[in-house]
Symmetry: C2
Subunit: 379 residues, 2 copies
């Protein structure tokens, strides 16, 4: 079990910094500011220019820079003692970052910074203010530190996954042929908020041939008894941690065709999940899954068959070709496979905890791969 004391996550970065010869890490994304500074700055996500910055040096004290409007939250939450605030449109957050780095004598050092988040305008400003600095991408370090979850994170993600599946299943039970896509989606969403979600992250729901769209928005169309299938990919945040679940749902008359394809897909799924254990390489799981699809005679077009889940929706480990890193105990990931046959999308995804000896399917403790079913209205 990892140390969960405040600031411990920053300490876990230091061996990586030494290995990559970095003198400081600069966190900028909402995910990494939340994880490392332990404060949630809501407007970072909706108003992108309102940067928040955590400065995490190898030696010396860390600092945080945030918009003045967020001061009461930051003061109440972060463990970082050196807190600095800028007034929007009056002082640039990047000028304050440059100043902090100069104070710490880091202006000509090797600076690890989230260059895959930092906007180009801000990047050019920083290069101009610190012409002798070496700006080096460092997201991979943050990703690696975040990949193995703390016990509290495992509890939160487990709760989130289970509540999301329950929200889906209860909404399906409440829905009948003749209701609309929107009716079904709103029931799922309301159930998820009743289950403790703080936000809806995505609600992708499409019936019939609209299931082909990976991220279809539900609309007012009525669910008809025409051998239809609904594709669902759905998740919210619970205390900043994501859920992410995919299912297919039968509508009305049961359909041997849809059920046969879903059965073949879930057979691959069950076999794939068996491979998830410490030491298994991400690329090998991808390859194994691909082989199962070939055996089952299903089209395989996925660029990934799973992804870590946490504060972010796609975290390490990524189950993609070429990723030779192995799974580790206390990684949390979504195993997800999908296929498209005759314009219909079939998709299943659950939350998996990598344990010391194997795995647990947290979002479905009793793994049940029969299709969800919206019944005809008998009244």
């Amino acid at each position: 079990m990892l140390d969960e004391t405040r600031g411990a996550r920053y300490q876990r970065c230091k061996p990586h910094m030494e290995r990559e010869d970095l003198d400081v890490l600069v966190a900028l994304s909402p995910e990494n500011v939340l994880y490392f500074a332990e404060t949630y700055i809501q407007t970072q996500a909706s108003i992108r220019e309102r940067l928040a910055i955590a400065v995490l040096p190898l030696e010396g004290e860390p600092a945080i820079i945030a918009c003045q409007i967020e001061k009461p939250s930051v003061e109440a939450e972060t463990w970082i003692a050196d807190r600095r605030y800028y007034v929007e449109a009056q002082r640039s957050p990047i000028a304050m970052l440059a100043e902090a780095l100069k104070e710490k004598h880091l202006e000509d050092k090797r600076i690890g910074i989230e260059l895959n988040y930092l906007m180009a305008t801000y990047y050019c400003e920083l290069v101009q203010l610190l012409p002798r600095a070496q700006l080096i991408p460092c997201s991979r370090i943050f990703d690696q530190v975040r990949a193995v979850k703390e016990q509290r994170e495992i509890r939160l993600l487990s709760y989130a996954g289970l509540q999301t599946v329950r929200a889906v299943e209860a909404a399906v039970r409440m829905t009948r042929v003749g209701d609309s896509e929107n009716d079904l989606a709103v029931r799922m969403i309301k159930n998820m908020f009743d289950g403790g979600a703080q936000s809806l992250e995505f609600m992708c729901l499409g019936s019939g041939l609209r299931s082909e769209m990976a991220h279809c928005a539900p609309d007012p169309r009525v669910l008809l008894e025409d051998e239809s299938v609904i594709h669902l990919d759905f998740g919210g945040k619970f205390d900043h941690y994501n859920s992410d679940i995919a299912r297919d749902i039968l509508v009305g008359r049961r359909s041997a065709k849809h059920e046969d394809i879903y059965k073949r897909l879930t057979d691959c799924y069950v076999r794939g999940i068996e491979e998830l254990k410490p030491g298994a390489r991400a690329c090998d799981i991808y390859q194994f899954t691909k082989e199962q699809f070939e055996r089952a005679g299903l089209p395989f077009t996925m660029s990934l068959v799973g992804h870590g889940l946490g504060i972010g929706v796609h975290e390490l480990p990524m189950l993609i070709p070429g990723e030779t890193k192995a799974l580790e105990e206390d990684m949390m990931l979504c195993y997800e496979i999908r296929t498209i046959v005759d314009g219909y999308r079939y998709h299943i995804e659950d939350l998996i905890h990598i344990t010391s000896s194997g795995h647990e399917v947290l979002s479905q403790p009793e793994l049940d791969t029969t299709m969800l079913w919206i019944q005809p209205d008998l009244f």
Copy 2:
């Protein structure tokens, strides 16, 4: 009334491109890809590296570049004929952008691009691939084109604002002293989804001295009859268009102190709203509001007193010092003012439509500035 035919928004960029001598505009943010390419690419927001790009040249045909996984949605939605897709982790979206610009003989031209969105990693890749290109920030052009709303946008925003206020008011009526912050927040959220929202964008709700936090997350604490006040700032998206409403709510015993401050604040509010009309300069509205606060004896610490609302939460017009642009007919904006007294935050915000002769308060057709009130439970 503006032309609402497909592609018309792109045509409205052209006079700006000519004025600023730009040969092409490149849209990258989820907001501008949605607005100009008229396709919503869901994962752009949650998985940032999955870029979608609209290439909008002054002469010749536009193009769109998106992740392969989004192909069915893009094919169904966009009006752009030249559609290109990359497979994630196999082909870089920036390499495809460079290729498209070369095909169009724009590789050494003046390229307007959203540098305040583009991540530094991608920026450096683009500079390397197109060393002779002049990359020029162009977000201001997109912002200006989006600032004056089409009739459909006005209807959507109006609906969104009204449904959000109704969701708040109905939740307050259903809530009693002894319920929790979470109870109240979940009721508002569920009402908003019942009213047609597709997403929750933010739910900032804090009672008592937690109201000081601008973006406080509701928690399980119980609402007590202790002369408390709740601060609320709340919004969702309706068919991609935002709502954004702020209120203060009294809990239990009515409080002359809270009501007096709220009354003084809303007096400033009513006077400020009267200033909103075509021709009024943003900076003058800011200054006028500041003077009202001084007259009312309220602390004034706002860096803005309002912002445009649309696909984005903060759009033009921004009611900030130094913004000399005037309001125009069919702009849609939130007028919002707030003050903090003795650690309590007082805040009010509504949606305003600038009409040919003045304004309408769309989220409250009968402007009522009495405080919302959660009643004691009498049973």
